[in-house]
Symmetry: C2
Subunit: 341 residues, 2 copies
C-alpha cells in the first residue's frame, strides 16, 4: 500500500503551519514568497494533493455536479452528457449522472442522495422536476439549471432551443420543395418541445386551404410512435406529400412506415425531423432535420450552472438557442422516383 501524504505532512516538511499551507492551496490570504517556495517544494517532494472529501466536509464544496436525464442511452441525451462532462472537466468539476426515466420518484431519490453528498449543483434534463422539488432545492441552497422547461421556472435558468421557430422553418422548407399537403406527428404535449413544435406547425399551415386538424397525429417521440402515427395518417390522407415529425426518432418511424408501404421517401412523400441526432445521417435516404445545437446546449447549460455555483451569475433567465435546417435526401423531390445512380 502506498502512503498518501496529508496537509500536515506538507506543513511539517515545509516548517510552517497547516493553516498557511491551506491558505497557499486555496490562494486565500497572503503567503510570503519565501514560505511559498518552501511549501511548493514540500508538496512536490511528497507528491501531495489535497483530499477532496475532507475539503468537501470542511468547505461544503465538492467540485461535483450532477446530471439528471431521462435515459443516458437515448442518443440526444448522450450527446448532451458528453458536452456537459467536457465543460465540467474543463472547470475542474466531476459529473455524476442519473437516469430518471421521467419518473418523479426516481428523480426525487437522486435529489435526496445528491444532497447528502454535498453536490455543488444539478442539471435537470428530465422533465419531472416538480414545483415543490425546485422550491426545496432553492431552500437547500443547491443551485440548478434546466433543459427545455416551461417559462414557470423561478429558481433556475433554462436552456432550450427555438422550437416554434424551428417548426416554422420545417414547414417552410417542405413548402419550398413543393409539398402541398403536409401532416404533422406531434410529441407529448406536456413537454415544451412537443407543444411549441406543434404550435409552429399549426401557425404555418392554417392559412392554407388544404389544412385540416386531421393532418395532426400524436406520437410518443419514439420510433414506434412515429410508425404508428404515419400508418394512421396515410389511412386518412393517402395524398399527403410531406410529413413534419416532432422529432428525429419519430421521423425515422415515418420513414420506415412509408418504405414498408413502398412509398418513395423524398419524391413521393418528403419527411422532415427535428433534433439533429446522429441517426439522421444513417437512414436511407438521410433525413432532413431541424438541428438543435445539442452539444452547445449542453455546454451552455453547464457553464450556467458553474457560474451559479461560483456566484457569478447575475440572474436566472431563459436562453433560447438557434436551430438550423439541414436539408438532406428525405426532402429531395426528384422527378424520377426510382432512378439509380
Amino acid at each position: 500500500m502506498i502512503v498518501i501524504s496529508t496537509i500536515r505532512d506538507v506543513a511539517k516538511l515545509a516548517g510552517v503551519s497547516v493553516s498557511t499551507v491551506s491558505r497557499f492551496l486555496n490562494k486565500s490570504g497572503y503567503v510570503n514568497a519565501e514560505t511559498e517556495r518552501l511549501i511548493k517544494d514540500a508538496i512536490e517532494k511528497l507528491n501531495y494533493s489535497p483530499n477532496e472529501v475532507a475539503r468537501g466536509l470542511a468547505g461544503k464544496k465538492t467540485n461535483t455536479i450532477a446530471l439528471i436525464l431521462p435515459d443516458i442511452s437515448n442518443l440526444f441525451f448522450s450527446d448532451l452528457a458528453r458536452a456537459v462532462e467536457d465543460v465540467a472537466a474543463t472547470y475542474g468539476y466531476t459529473v455524476i449522472f442519473g437516469n430518471s426515466d421521467d419518473q418523479g420518484t426516481k428523480e426525487r431519490r437522486y435529489i435526496e442522495t445528491l444532497k447528502k453528498k454535498y453536490i455543488d449543483g444539478i442539471i435537470f434534463a428530465s422533465n419531472t422536476l416538480s414545483r415543490e422539488d425546485s422550491e426545496m432545492l432553492a431552500k437547500l441552497g443547491i443551485p440548478f439549471v434546466c433543459l427545455d422547461r416551461g417559462p414557470s421556472e423561478k429558481n433556475g435558468s433554462v436552456v432550450r432551443s427555438k422550437n416554434k421557430e424551428g417548426a416554422v422553418m420545417a414547414v417552410r422548407h417542405l413548402l419550398d420543395v413543393g409539398c402541398r399537403k403536409i401532416a404533422h406527428i406531434y410529441g407529448p404535449q406536456d413537454l415544451i418541445t412537443g407543444k411549441e413544435r406543434l404550435n409552429g406547425y399549426v401557425q404555418s399551415v392554417q392559412v392554407f386551404e388544404w389544412y385540416t386538424p386531421t393532418l395532426l397525429e400524436p406520437g410518443d417521440f419514439r420510433i414506434a410512435g412515429g410508425m404508428a402515427a404515419t400508418e394512421r395518417l396515410l389511412e386518412r390522407h393517402p395524398d399527403i406529400d410531406g410529413i413534419f415529425a416532432g422529432n428525429d426518432l419519430m421521423a425515422v418511424g415515418a420513414l420506415k412506415a412509408l418504405q414498408r408501404r413502398g412509398i418513395a421517401v423524398g419524391c413521393q412523400v418528403a419527411v422532415c425531423g427535428f433534433d439533429g441526432i446522429q441517426t439522421t445521417e444513417i437512414t436511407t435516404p438521410e433525413l432532413t432535420t431541424i438541428a438543435q445545437p445539442i452539444y452547445e446546449m449542453g455546454a451552455h447549460i453547464s457553464r450556467l450552472l458553474i457560474k451559479k455555483i461560483e456566484g457569478v451569475l447575475e440572474e436566472d433567465r431563459i436562453y433560447e438557442l438557434d436551430v438550423k435546417l439541414i436539408a438532406r435526401d428525405s426532402t429531395l423531390r426528384r422527378k424520377v422516383p426510382n432512378e439509380q445512380g
Copy 2:
C-alpha cells in the same frame, strides 16, 4: 434556508450518545431494542439522513463508483452506461463518468481526481489503462474491473463477449445464405475486439479456395472507416458477395458505400456487423449483426466491481459472455434484386 439535522441532534433527542446512533445506523454492534425505538423516532422526527461526505471522510467509503469510457456519446457506451447506473443505483452506489477519448493522459487525470475523492472503485471501458496505472491502482487499494481487455490483467476482473466465436458465427451465416466470397473489414488491432474478430474470420475462411488476404481491409470502428474500406475492397474484388464488418458502425459505412454504388445490399452483397447497437434497426435494409449482450455486460461488470468493493469477490477472472446472431434484411438474398412490395 432549511436546517439540516446531524447525528448529534438525533443523539440528543433520543437521549443517547452519538456512538450509539452511529452503531444503529451502520448495524455495527448491538443496540438495545428500546434504545433502537428511541433512535428511530428521533430520526423520523428530525427527518435525519446521514451526511455522506462526513461518512466518507471518517469511513473511507463514499458509495460512489466511476465509469471511464472512451466517449459517452458513442451508442455502445451509452447503452453500457445505462446498465452500469441501473445496477449501481440498485446497490446504493452513485456513478461518476468520464470520457477518455482513448487517451492515456485523460484517463490518468481521472484516476488522479477519483483517488482524491475516495471513489470506491472504477470501471474501465476504455482501452488505455496501462500496466503501471493498473499496478498503481492496486497499490492504492482501489478496486477496478475492465471491459474487453486482453488476458494480461492481473489486478482486475474482465468482462467481454465471445468475439472470436461471434466472428465464426458471422462467417457461417454468410456462407449459409449463399455467399461465396466474403471480405472482412477489421477494427484496430490493439483492441481485443478488433483482433479476435479478425482471428475468427481468418480461421473460418482460410480453408476456402477463394480466400486471399486481400479480402482483408482495415477500418477504424467508425462509419467513415467502413465506407472507405468498402470502396477499396470493391476496387480490388468487384465480385465479393459478402462483407463481415468488425463492428456495426463500419457495417453501416459498408451499407452506405454499397448503396452509393447502386449495389443492392442483401441480394448482391450481404453485410453483417457486430455489436448489436440500436442503429442496426434503423438502416434500410436493417442490418444483420452479431449482438453482444451490451446491457448484460454493463450489469455484470458493475456487480463484479461492487462485489470487489464489498470484499466478497473470491478471485479476479475473465468472463466471456455469449453473443447472438440477429439475422435481418442485409443478409437476405432474395432472387429478384429490385423488387418492390
